[in-house]
């Protein structure tokens, strides 16, 4: 019977579309202002507990918040970079809940009139072994709010069950931009790429360092699964506690499978918050979400309306740098770089700027790209340098690449002098001239050396001529050795073959 080897399809699943995950991200970005969102206390990270506090941070009776204008600037710039519409008027609200990491027992946030709404970013989704594709991810909104403090629990990893808990308000009142995506993401990889593009954009803007280990960028995931795009949404589960992009990807992929398995086994998926356990590589239930919490939002009467005039908005827009997606397109389309090179070069603004400065100095973009993504990136990473601190300046790299392009030196020589240039900088041209490293490209001179070589190795010449073609490599090696690697490789090969065959 035809098809007998194939397992019979389940009558239920055969009728149904494949599972699809619906994923949205809430990203909290700490805005990198020197002082907090509503007071002048420092935002420095990592100092002794409760050293960056003041009466406003602690919510002492009678204190009042005053908006740090730098926070507004950073939030608007971030929103513009995410193609969001900036509200001319918005406001702050109080989000009320009792928790000791919140000094006032309400958080100043933005509820129904956020500073910015309805935008998008373009994400390049690249995964090993799969076709790289572009996807536009919608962004619901961006709003400003204050961060909470940090609790340390003794005798338990949470407040319940601890013998006592300590609170550190250093983080309380640090400015956050909360960025809420539309539920446009479908896989863990897409979510990780989205989050990493958000981080990249924030770093390009200089509004956040995006440091996930220090909590400057935190993502919460909302995820449900359904049978194809027309099916109703499944139960939404929230995942927290992922502190790397790979953790985001893995947590989502794990959670998708967990939910699918549950549905297929006829078990319900509970509406709840789950935590990603990095050591066990799984999500586990943190708390149930029985109905929505009532935060009793109302407009904060201590803060007036937030007004952003057209002139102010456009002024800030004019200060935006070229963003990573635009750079990627430009590098690929105008400079002819591969998608991979464009992606690597634009990952950090400083590297892109280094690259562009070298190109602007007149060298070939592909040549520069190879050096920057290869030896230079390796050196910078190995020595934990910022590329801007590199002694080899972009113009000097351009000079080196130009020497290769112009046939003045070989790639081999370039590699040889690179370590010195990386450590001390300097002019490649000067080094080459000083040490006589210039390429030998006079055919007569090369021919003379080849003659000498052939004369010195009669056996090998005979062997070659009797068909041992592989020996060509031996003669090339000998030639380079004799010339200290300076022979023009193309010309040398040509003359060598001529003479060997001759």
């Amino acid at each position: 019977m035809a098809g007998a080897a194939v397992a019979p399809a389940s009558p239920v699943t055969s009728q149904q579309a494949p599972w699809e995950a619906v994923i949205g991200l809430e990203t909290h970005v700490q805005l990198g202002t020197a002082s907090k969102i509503f007071t002048s206390a420092s935002t420095a990270f990592g100092d002794a507990p409760n050293t960056h506090i003041d009466p406003v941070v602690c919510g002492l009776p009678g204190t009042l918040p005053v908006l740090n204008q730098k926070v507004l600037e950073y939030a608007v710039k971030a929103a513009l970079a995410l193609n969001l519409h900036i509200a001319e008027h918005s406001k702050f609200d109080r989000k009320q809940y009792f928790y000791p990491d919140l000094p006032k027992n309400y958080q100043i946030s933005q509820f129904d009139e956020p500073i910015a709404e309805d935008g998008w970013i373009e994400v390049e989704v690249a995964e090993k072994g799969k076709q790289t594709y572009l996807k536009r991810i919608g962004i619901e909104r961006l709003h400003m709010e204050e961060d909470a403090g940090k609790l340390v629990h003794a005798g338990s990893d949470r407040l319940d069950g601890s013998t006592h808990s300590l609170v550190d308000y250093n983080r309380a009142g640090v400015a956050l931009a909360e960025i809420v995506s539309k539920p446009d993401l479908r896989t863990g990889r897409e979510a990780a790429e989205y989050a990493s593009e958000i981080r990249r954009i924030m770093r390009y803007l200089g509004v956040s360092d995006g440091n996930m280990q220090e909590g400057s960028l935190r993502c919460d995931v909302n995820i449900s699964v359904r049978r194809g795009p027309d099916a109703p949404f499944g139960t939404k589960v929230e995942i927290k506690n992922m502190n790397s992009f790979s953790a985001i990807q893995k947590a989502i992929d794990y959670e998708i499978q967990r939910q699918i398995k549950a549905y297929e086994a006829g078990e319900p998926v509970r509406q709840e918050t789950r935590l990603w356990d990095e050591s066990k590589q799984l999500t586990k239930s943190m708390r149930g979400k029985e109905g929505a919490s009532d935060y009793r939002y109302f407009p904060d009467p201590d803060l007036g309306p937030i007004e952003v005039s057209d002139a102010q908005r456009e002024g800030w827009r004019a200060e935006l740098p070229e963003l990573p997606a635009a750079k990627r397109h430009r590098y690929a389309e105008q400079l002819g770089l591969s998608i991979y090179d464009a992606r690597v070069l634009t990952d950090e603004r400083s590297m892109a700027e280094y690259f562009e400065a070298a190109v602007a100095a007149g060298a070939d973009a592909k040549g520069i790209a190879n050096w920057v993504t290869g030896d230079i990136a390796a050196y910078v990473n190995a020595n934990r340098l910022a590329i801007a601190e590199l002694p080899l300046k972009p113009e000097q790299l351009a000079e080196l690449v130009q020497l290769i392009e112009g046939g003045i030196i070989s790639g081999k020589i370039a590699k040889e002098i690179l370590p010195e240039l990386l450590e001390q900088g300097g002019s490649a041209k000067a080094i080459v001239a000083e040490r006589g490293l210039g390429m030998i490209s006079d055919p007569a001179a090369i021919a003379a050396i080849v003659e000498e070589l052939l004369a010195a190795h009669p056996e090998e010449v005979a062997a070659f001529r009797s068909g041992k073609n592989k020996l060509q490599g031996f003669f090339v090696g000998q030639l380079m050795k004799k010339t200290g690697g300076k022979a023009d490789p193309k010309l040398a090969n040509q003359i060598l073959i001529e003479k060997l065959n001759g």
């Binding site: 009678g62 009320q96 009532d294 009793r296 939002y297 109302f298």
Partner: protein, 494 residues
């Protein structure tokens, strides 16, 4: 020593005497400390008397004067401060067990400006707990008494400040006004009480009750003194985002501008208000007639939404209070219930034991009004009515320069008169609330006495930032009426 009763003489005269060396700051301070010692066991205006600091500050002023320095305008003037204004290093209790031992590590903007201007702190005055009340009866530390009749309340919430000024226990005082908390006790105690335009005076360091309504203002024995104090405390503050940037005019200079030709609006609804004492009505109408005699034109105006003010207020103010008072949880400062076995229990018990009934009642009302499913019907609706009240004022000020109403429907009531009926107590603020709703400046000026010899107050209201006009009309009325000279009995003689 020949020091006058501070109720007989204004700040300008004191300043002159101080400058001439007829009296020293130290003598002035000692005089008031002695007065406090004599009458405060009866009046209980003060929660804390800062004698040592007062003497030291006064001596410093005298030393500076002796050294030939030109001194700021309030140099050596002893003042009392309502105990919901934070004073660095001086306990600030809000008359609550919750903050019984709270010592602020910072100074409120208004008091800082007073000390910069050379004023001397005599002490902190009693109030209804967290300024919630109209009699000081909700104070956790016992009520204050009305100097005109100790069997009567001084009004509230700033009853301690009003009583201290009325009893001559300070030259002037600061209070705060959310729904009438300056004007109503000023009316009950027969003193001048000014609530400035919302945002004219910084709220930084004023322990918040209802942030969109709270405003600090002075209690004084004359309108001129109110102008003197406002001059010092008014003006922009980078620590308060709701504080107005407008420059501060010369309030004292404005006092003598002529009032003839000004149009005074008689708010019809206020004279028809439920529970308006006929004696109060008669005295206020007589005051209006006095203004007419000074050349003002009396105009009948209608503000139909005024009577909705109280219902609106008792949604908005508790809503804001429920959030403002959430911070008192026993974690960081203030009262912490002992021996709790969980965080939830610690928070719940600290609040249940640290707050009095009225505060808890308002927190419950506000929490309810902001809850999902009710916020549209209560909080948002109340904000809409608030806009309508504002429009009533806007319309009225198209036709008149200043509005005139009674300050309180009654004179000072007895202790416990409303203790079984919070709503009856809330009605005490009926006539003062609309000005808070619209953020307008308003002043109480004494305008007579009832048959029991209790003071009656006149309320004047002007448009936003029109304090110069407000003070000017009040000042002319005060000079013409000479109400205190005609008083039937002296308060707390001698």
């Amino acid at each position: 020593m020949g020091i006058a009763d501070s109720r007989e003489q204004g700040i300008a005269e004191w300043r002159q005497q101080l400058e001439k060396g007829e009296v020293s700051a130290r003598e002035l301070t000692e005089h008031h400390l002695a007065r406090i010692q004599a009458v405060d066991p009866t009046v209980h205006a003060y929660l804390e008397i800062t004698s040592e600091r007062a003497r030291a500050d006064a001596d410093r002023i005298d030393a500076r004067r002796a050294a030939g320095e030109t001194l700021p305008p309030l140099a050596g003037i002893p003042l009392a401060i309502k105990d919901n204004l934070c004073t660095k290093g001086v306990t600030t209790t809000c008359s609550s067990r919750m903050l019984e031992h709270f010592v602020p590590p910072y100074e409120s903007t208004v008091t800082d400006r007073l000390w910069q201007a050379g004023a001397v702190l005599l002490g902190k005055t009693n109030l209804d707990e967290f300024a919630m009340g109209s009699s000081t009866e909700t104070s956790a530390f016992g009520p204050s008494r009305n100097p005109w009749n100790p069997e009567r309340v001084p009004g509230g919430s700033s009853g301690g400040s009003a009583a201290a000024v009325a009893a001559g226990e300070c030259i002037a005082a600061l209070g705060s006004d959310t729904g009438g908390s300056i004007r109503q006790p000023a009316s009950f105690c027969g003193v001048v009480g000014l609530k400035p335009t919302y945002g004219r005076v910084s709220r930084y360091g004023l322990v918040a009750f209802a942030s969109s309504l709270d405003q600090v203002g002075p209690f004084t024995t004359s309108v001129a003194d109110a102008a003197e104090l406002l001059q010092v405390i008014a003006g922009a503050d980078p620590r308060d985002a709701t504080c107005l940037q407008a420059p501060v005019p010369d309030y004292v200079a404005a006092l003598d501008q002529p009032v003839a030709g000004l149009r005074v609006g008689m708010v019809r609804e206020c004279f028809e208000a439920e529970g308006l004492d006929p004696q109060v009505k008669a005295a206020v109408l007589a005051a209006a007639a006095q203004l007419e005699a000074l050349g003002c034109e009396l105009v009948d105006v209608s503000c139909p939404r005024f009577n909705d003010g109280i219902a609106t207020y008792y949604v908005i103010a508790p809503s804001e209070a429920s959030a403002n008072l959430a911070r008192y949880d026993g974690v960081k400062y203030g009262y912490r219930a002992p021996d709790a076995t969980s965080l939830a229990e610690m928070t719940a018990r600290s609040r249940a034991e640290g707050f009095g009934d009225e505060v808890q009642r308002r927190i419950l009302i506000g929490t309810y009004a902001l809850s999902a499913g009710y916020v549209d019907a209560y909080y948002k609706k109340a904000q809409q009515v608030r806009t309508l009240i504002r429009r009533d004022f806007d319309r009225a000020f198209e036709a008149v320069d200043v509005l005139l109403t009674p300050t309180s429907p009654t004179t000072a009531f007895g202790f416990g008169a409303h203790s079984d009926d919070p709503l009856a107590m809330y009605l005490a603020d009926l006539l003062t609330i609309p000005a808070n709703m619209a953020g307008l400046p308003a002043i109480n000026v004494p305008c007579g006495f009832d048959l029991e010899g209790l003071p009656i107050g006149l309320q004047l209201i002007t448009g936003v930032l029109e304090e110069p006009r407000l003070l000017q009309v009040a000042h002319h009325y005060e000079l013409a009426a000479q109400v205190m000279q005609a008083r039937p009995v002296a308060p707390l003689v001698p």
